[in-house]
Symmetry: D2
Subunit: 345 residues, 4 copies
C-alpha cells in the first residue's frame, strides 16, 4: 500500500489523478498540495468531489513531501522546473506531468518553451514515461517525465511503423486535433466558451512545443532522425485528441502490413488497441479511459499511409499514463486502478 | 458471484450497464441479448468496447435467460411490456429500465404512453426502484420497475420537503432540463446534431409521460396528493438532468430548515449529496457517476422555495440506479461497483 | 443619413451593433470608441471583420462624440453610469445597453447591482426601450435604457396575458435559460469552455439583477404589482434565451384565449411572432435575428399556463432592439437594417 | 428583377438559399419546389421562417419551372442527375449544388459516388462554379455545377500557390475538418447528437468523393496534375470548414512570397480575404457569411508550407457561392444580396 501526494491538484491533470487514485486499490492515502490555497477544503472548490475529497489543501513542504511513496507534480511548465529539484533523491518516486523534464537538449527547451530550463543533472536522469516504449527504464526510474498529450497520441501510432521501416519518415506530416481541456483550467480568450464553441481553429502554427519532444522520441525509440511537420487544432469539445499522420510507405507495403505491425508491437500492452477495420474513428472510443487506439491504412492511389492515434488527452495523455507509470515503478500490473470502461457518450 | 444478462444492450441504458457491470466485483459473468442482431460481435458495433466486449449478441431465449441471477431489460417502453412476462417468477431477479411497469394505474399508462399496458398482475407486483425511498421493498422484490430519469432527479429533491411539510405541494411547478442522451440512440430529427446543437428547446409541453410517475411517487412516499406542473427542456449536451422545482414554503420555513431536512433524510445514503451553500449548481458535478446532488433555498422576497436535483440521466437516472437496486436485492453494499468519481469535465 | 458612434465596441453587444449597422441603409458613418485601446485596428482584434472594419479604435472624447446623431453605449453596468452623463442633452440620441439606467428606484439598483447608481436626474428622464410596449415614449426619447436580455424574453411573452387579465400574476414563476454569450466577453471560470461545455447550471439563485427590472416593467405596462420568482440557467450554447413562465390562468381561460390575446397584441409588430401550435419550441427559431417568438398554453390538468418567450439574447436582447429603438427615434420603419432571416442552424 | 425557383428547399443548402435570396434586392419572387411534400406550408416545417416563408411547397413541374429566370437545385447527388436534364436549354439558368455535374470523367463519378452518372452531354456543357477562378465561363454559362464544400476551401487556398509554382504539388497532403451540417439534414447514426457531440472523428478515410473534384480543378486551373492525399474529419460543431494543406515549398520560397501571391491573386475578389499574420485562425471568422479566408506560412525547419482555407460550408461552400454565381451570370456585382457580416459568435 502506498501514500501518494499530488502537487498542483487543482489543474485538470490533478483532478484526473484524484479521479483514478481515489479508487486505486494500492493507494492507502492521497494528499493534495498547493502553493497558494493552503487550507481550502478541496470540495468547496470542486463540487463534484463533495463527500469524496473534503480535505484541506496542504502547503507545499518538502519535509512532509519526502514521506510519500510517490509524488505527482501536476503544475505548469516553468513551475515544476523550480519546484521538484529539492525532492529529487530524497525518497519519493517523482512523476512530473509538465514539459519541464522531457527535452534532453536544454536549448530546445529554451527555444520552444521560452522559459528557463530545469537543472540539467535532473533532466539527464529523468526517464521519458511513454510506458509502452520505455517500460524497462521506467521500472528503475526515480524521476519520470510524463509525456505530453499530443506526443503520446502521435508516437504510439507511428513508432512501430517507423521502427519497422514501413513508412518513410523523411516526409512525415502530423495534423493533430485536441479538445479544449488540453489548454488547462485558466480562463483565457482562447478558452472562452463563446469564442471557442462552434469554432475549429489552428493555433501555434508550426510552433508547438511538442515538436521537439516528438522528434526526440522518434530518435530515442527507433534511431531514426525525422524532421516533422506538426500542427495542432483546437476542437470545440472538452476531451480527446485525434492525431492524423501522413507519410509515404516503403515499397510495396500494404494496409495489412501496417495493421500486423501494430498488432504485433502491442500484443502484450493492455491499453493499446489496434483497429484493423473502420469507416470512422473518433475520440469517443476512448473517452474517460486510459486506452490509446491506433490505426493505419495505405492509400493505394498515392502510396501514402494515413495513421491515426486517439486518446483521452487527460487520461492516457496525462494522469492515466502517469498512474500507469507509477504502477510499473511499483511492480503492479499496469492496469491497476485504471481499468475503467470508456464512456463513449 | 452473480451471472447477469442484459436485454437491449445496444441502447444507452444498456451501454451504461455494461460500463459498470464489467467492473462489478460480484459479477462473474455478463451476457448480452438482442431481438434482432444475433451473432453480431458487440465491439464491432461499439468500438469503445474493443478488447472489452468482443462477444456476440445472443438471441433472446427464455430457457437461457432463466439461468441468470439477474436480468436487466433495457428495451424501450412498449417492448418490455411484452418481453418480460414469460420470465416473471422463473428464477432471475428482473430489473426493467423502461416505463412499462412503473404506473400502477393502467389508464394512466394508456393515456400518457399511448400504448397497450403490461399485464396488470405483473404491474401490481413490480416494485418502484427509487432506491433511497423504497429500500425495504426492493430488498424483497423479484421485479423492479426502475424509475424514469426525470422522476429520479425531481423526487429525490422534493420528497423530503413534502414529507416533512416544509413546502406546499398545491402549487408545485417543476421545470426540468435534460441532455440529449435521454432521447435514446435512435436517430431522429429531434436528436439530429445540426438542429439540436446550439438550440435549447422545450418539448412535450405539459404532456410528458413522467408526470403521472412523479405524482404517483409523491403520493406513494408522502401520502400527499399533488397535481404538478411539469415541463421538460432539451439541452445541447449529452448527459445530465437538472430539475428546478418551485413551491411556496410553509409558514416561517427558512433555507436552513430545508437544508437540514435534506441532510437528515439522506445522512445514511451514500449517493445523495446535499449541497448547503452554492452560487451555481451544474450537471457536471455528477457526470458519469451515480450521485444525485440536491439543494433547496427559500426566496425570502416571495416565500417560495427553489429546489434543485441534479443527476447523470444515464447513471442515477437509469443504469446506475438499476445496479444500485440489484445490490440491494443481493444484500451487497449499495455502492458495490458504482463508486466511481464524477468526471466533472 | 446618420452618423453613429459605438462606445464599448469590443463587447458582444458592440460587435452585434457593428454587424447590423454596417449594412444599415440609413447609416452613412459608424465609428468605434474605446477607453483603453486607442489606435488599435479593430479587425486586428476581431479577425471576422477583416476588410470590413479595418479602422482604428478612437479615444472617447466628448467633443467628438457630440457630433454624432446617435451614440450607443455598450459598456458594462457600473461604467455607463459614469460615462454617459456628460453627453446627455448635448446633441446625440443616447442608447445605453447596460443596466445602469433601467431601474427608476435607486435603492433597487444599489441592492441588486451592488454598485453606485447613475445620476438620478438622468435615470428619471431615461425611457425604457422595450420597443413594442413603449414606442410612443421612445419616439420622443433623447436617452434610452435598452432592456436586459432576460426581461425582453420574459416581458414580451407575459405582458399581454397579465394586461388582459388572463393569468394570475400573484404566483408567477419564471424559469429562464440563456446561452453563454450573455455573460460577455471577459474570460472567467464561469465561461471557461471545459467547465461550461456539457454542463447545464443554475446561477445567482433567486438573486439575478433582472428581477427588479421585470417587476418594474410589469407594473409600468400593466399597472399590476407582481412579486415574481425568477431563476436563470446557463446553457452550453452561445446564443439564445428561452424563458418558461408559469402562472395560474383566470377562470375558464383556454389556450385559444391566450393565443388570441398574443396575436391581437402583436398584430402590427413585425418582430414578434406568435406560435399557435407547436410540439417543440427552440432558440434556433430566432438565431441571429431580431425576432421574439412567443407562445402560451393552458395545462388543463392544473389550470396553469406555460408561457414561452424566445430571443437571440445578443439581438432582440441587446443590439437588435437598440437599433430597433434608434429606428423608432429616427422615424424609420422598425425593420430598417434588421430584416435578416434567422440562421436556424 | 428576377424570378427564382429552388428545388430541394428543405435541405440545408436550400434553407441557406432562402436566407440570402429572401433579402436579395434583385429577386422579386422566390418559389420552393419539392418532390414529396406538395402543399406543405414551408414555415410549418421550419419554424424559423414563420411570417417569412408561409407559402406552400409546390410540386416539381417542368412547365412551371421553365418560366423562372434561375432554378437552383439543392437536391442530393444521385437525384439531380435525373431531375435537371428536362430543364436544360429550356429557359432558366440552372445552378446545381449537388456533385452530379462536377466530374467531367464519368468513370470518376461512378467510382467515387457509386451512382449512375448524369447525361454526358450535360456534364460536358456544365461550368464549374468556383467563382473566383472561372468567372468568365460562369458569365456565359447556362448550367453551373456549384463546387463542393471541401473543394472550395481547399482550392481557393492552394490554387494560387500551385499556379505560381511556389509549392510542389507532388506531395500535397490535405487534412480537412468540417462541421456536421455538411452531412445534411437526414438523421443518421453519424449525425446523432449524443454520438457526434464531444467526438472528433475521421471518416471515409482516403475515400472521400471530393478527391477527384479537387484533382480535376487543380489541373483545370493550373495545368498541373497532382495526386493528393485528402482526408476529412467531422467536428462537433454545426457550421464551418477548415482545410489544412501541406506541401514542400519550391526553393527559397518564404512566407512573404506565399502571402504576396495570395494577396495579388485575390486583390479584386471581394469574398476572399488573405490573412497575413495570425497566431490562430478559426472557422468563426467567416460564420454565416460568404467569405473564404486564406493563409499560408512556410515552416523554415522543414521547408514545407502550411496552407489554410476557411469557409462556412453552407455559404461559400454551397448556397452563398451559388448566389455569387447567379450574380455573375446576371451581370450583378458579386456581392449583391451576400454582403452580410460574419456572426463570429
Amino acid at each position: 500500500m502506498m501514500k501518494v501526494a499530488i502537487i498542483g491538484a487543482t489543474g485538470y491533470g490533478g483532478l484526473e489523478l484524484i479521479r483514478f487514485l481515489h479508487n486505486h486499490p494500492e493507494v492507502e492515502r492521497m494528499d493534495l498540495f498547493t502553493s497558494s490555497e493552503e487550507g481550502v477544503i478541496f470540495s468547496s472548490k470542486f463540487g463534484h468531489l463533495l463527500n469524496i475529497q473534503d480535505v484541506p489543501l496542504q502547503k507545499i513542504d518538502y519535509e512532509t513531501l519526502m514521506k510519500y511513496d510517490v509524488v505527482f507534480a501536476s503544475t505548469p511548465s516553468g513551475v515544476t522546473s523550480k519546484l521538484l529539484p529539492p525532492l529529487v533523491g530524497r525518497g519519493p518516486k517523482l512523476i512530473d506531468l509538465s514539459g519541464d523534464y522531457r527535452l534532453k537538449n536544454l536549448q530546445d527547451y529554451e527555444k520552444w518553451y521560452k522559459k528557463e530550463p530545469a537543472p540539467p543533472e535532473i533532466i539527464e536522469k529523468s526517464v521519458y514515461g511513454l510506458t509502452e516504449w520505455n517500460e524497462k527504464n521506467i521500472k528503475e526510474a526515480a524521476f519520470i517525465a510524463n509525456p505530453g498529450c499530443y506526443p503520446t497520441a502521435v508516437l504510439l501510432s507511428i513508432l512501430p511503423l517507423i521502427k519497422n521501416g514501413l513508412i518513410d519518415p523523411s516526409f512525415l506530416v502530423i495534423d493533430a486535433k485536441s479538445g479544449v481541456s488540453g489548454a488547462g483550467n485558466k480562463p483565457t480568450k482562447m478558452t472562452h466558451f463563446s469564442e471557442t464553441n462552434e469554432n475549429l481553429s489552428i493555433y501555434k502554427i508550426n510552433e508547438h512545443q511538442h515538436i521537439p519532444e516528438i522528434e526526440q522520441a522518434i530518435e530515442m525509440f527507433t534511431n531514426v532522425k525525422a524532421t516533422i511537420t506538426f500542427n495542432t487544432h483546437l476542437v470545440p469539445m472538452t476531451r480527446g485528441i485525434l492525431a492524423t499522420s501522413y507519410a509515404p510507405v516503403t515499397n510495396g507495403v500494404t494496409t495489412k502490413d501496417l495493421s500486423e505491425c501494430l498488432l504485433e508491437t502491442y500484443k502484450k500492452h493492455p491499453f493499446i488497441r489496434v483497429i484493423t477495420d473502420a469507416d470512422t474513428i473518433g475520440t469517443s472510443r476512448v473517452k474517460g479511459s486510459n486506452y490509446c487506439d491506433v490505426f493505419a491504412k495505405v492509400d493505394e492511389r498515392t502510396n501514402r499511409a494515413t495513421i491515426i492515434g486517439v486518446i483521452d488527452n487527460l487520461v492516457k495523455g496525462a494522469a492515466g499514463q502517469a498512474i500507469q507509470n507509477m504502477n510499473v515503478q511499483m511492480n503492479l500490473p499496469q492496469t491497476t486502478g485504471l481499468n475503467v470502461v470508456p464512456l463513449f457518450i
